[in-house]
């Protein structure tokens, strides 16, 4: 059974969302998603100042065999992407909840209400 951390929000496309303030969040993928993908060899992420839109593709995670689109759980502007993952994508397999992908400033903070609680996500996977 994959770990699901308390204190985070989750999406049905297997991202975790950590609130830093009312309109700033970190986004990563869950341990469940990382396990499903297998060894991750490449992470393709948007850069600072790019905008992402809820339910649209914003990047991709690739294992040797397959590419999986990342679907934005929220809309916003990218403030920072995790440069460490470019050189060391295996960090995602080692610690999915530590290896954040992007930090964004939310356009519609009310979108947070549509996300799953840890309990809801546990039941979902």
């Amino acid at each position: 059974m994959s770990k699901v951390l308390d204190g985070l929000l989750y999406s049905e496309s297997h991202e975790w969302i950590k609130k830093l303030s009312d309109d700033e969040v970190l986004i990563g993928i869950t341990e469940f998603a990382a396990e499903q993908l297998g060894s991750i060899v490449f992470v393709d992420l948007p850069e600072a100042e790019d905008t992402i839109e809820k339910d649209s593709e914003f990047g991709a995670v690739e294992s040797v065999k397959a590419a999986s689109d990342l679907v934005a759980p929220l809309s916003g502007e990218v403030m920072e992407m995790n440069e460490d993952l470019v050189g060391e994508p295996e960090l995602v397999n080692e610690d999915a909840f530590g290896a954040w992908f992007i930090k964004i400033k939310l356009t519609n903070p009310e979108e947070l209400d549509s996300l799953l609680s840890p309990e809801e996500y546990k039941n979902f996977i």
Partner: protein, 367 residues
């Protein structure tokens, strides 16, 4: 409904916690632990694949040699008994039915080993071609199982674990060997760019050998690493670098045809004509500059112009950089040509290069 078949090693794969997926109508292991680890075990030591899904046909009869010469692109008449020859079968128009290995037992008997995904198509096609030849063809695919053991230590592993000495078996030759009460057909062939063997036998023997290899620490490898390994060695895969829309010349496989010899074969006229009028496209190597993964069917551009597509691409495990095989329109096939591959709506720059991504480590003795 299509019934998904299992090989005789299915339970062994499940025991090893393999991730199983349907491939060519079979439930096959894609990966056991990690594609990267499995890949490296074969490059550095020894690993094995269950390739029991491959197809085997026996061609027999007084005119077997003439028949094989007719349907097979490569030279077979002058080959010795006990030899294995790689080549293709082509349609009249020169495009590829399948690629295969031909085992020459003697002038009157041959074994064809074909791609799992093409067994039904190939079998009905070869049967259609027998009309003018005194031969019989049997599809024995379901009777034979197969393990490929590959890597620099493959010979040592077979000696230690099966007590079979393959030192004298030359590259692209086969022989019959005994293991307990079982008879095995073993060839020094493979699909990884490393030294190694393919072992054909009935299911009970293959099951016994697989278990023996697992106990002896031969790494079980899935179809995932089989693809990354063959790709780095620039070995083509049907459905990617070859298809019924692609000719051997376009695939860069002219070496495996006898178009410049006296012998005729199906598709030869079309290929000669294509050679004469000149190719319009060809499979070449591509290397990208920035880290990324160019996957099959991603479009390739020179400036604004779309000039081809990726046939296979990976972040190479051995070289740790993004490389691809791609079908590119001429004249953009020239080495050093600057190209871009469109990956998820972003352009990634790179250049055309040779396909020698990796030095192959075949045992050259007698090859």
């Amino acid at each position: 409904m299509l019934k998904i078949k299992k090989t005789c090693l299915y339970d062994e794969h499940v025991k090893l916690n393999a991730k199983m997926e349907e491939f060519a109508g079979y439930e096959m292991p894609i990966v056991y632990t990690s594609i990267k680890e499995e890949h490296e075990s074969i490059r550095q030591n020894v690993g094995m694949f269950d390739v029991s899904h491959m197809g085997e046909f026996i061609i027999k009869g007084p005119e077997a040699t003439n028949f094989v010469n007719h349907v097979f692109t490569n030279e077979i008449i002058s080959k010795e008994n006990g030899s294995v020859t790689y080549g293709m079968m082509c349609y009249e128009n020169g495009t590829i039915v399948d690629d295969l290995l031909v085992y020459k037992i003697n002038d009157f008997e041959y074994l064809f080993v074909v791609n799992a995904s093409n067994i039904a198509k190939d079998y009905s096609w070869v049967i259609e071609q027998t009309e003018d030849f005194d031969v019989t063809i049997n599809n024995v695919s379901s009777e034979y199982s197969e393990i490929a053991i590959q890597g620099p230590n493959a010979e040592a592993a077979v000696k230690a674990l099966l007590n079979i000495n393959l030192d004298d078996l030359k590259f692209f030759y086969f022989g019959n060997f005994e293991y307990g009460n079982h008879s095995l057909l073993i060839s020094r062939t493979g699909y990884t760019g490393e030294d190694g063997f393919e072992i054909y036998a009935y299911s009970d023997a293959i099951l016994e050998i697989w278990r023996k290899f697992v106990e002896g620490d031969v790494t079980p490898c899935g179809l995932g690493s089989r693809d990354t390994l063959r790709f780095e060695a620039a070995l083509p895969l049907y459905g990617h670098e070859m298809s019924d829309k692609i000719t051997p010349l376009e695939a860069g496989l002219k070496f495996f045809t006898k178009i410049d010899s006296e012998f005729d074969f199906l598709g030869k006229a079309a290929l000669l004509k294509q050679k004469e009028t000149g190719l319009t496209r060809r499979v070449v190597g591509v290397e990208l500059i920035k880290r990324s993964i160019p996957r099959a069917n991603y479009p390739v551009y020179v400036g604004e112009q779309e000039v081809g597509y990726v046939t296979t691409g990976y972040l190479s495990v051995t070289l740790n950089k993004p490389i691809a095989l791609a079908m590119i329109d001429r004249p953009f096939t020239k080495k050093g040509t600057e190209i871009q591959i469109k990956i998820r709506n972003k352009m990634f720059p790179g250049f055309i290069r040779d396909k020698k991504f990796l030095k192959k480590n075949y045992k050259s003795k007698g090859a």
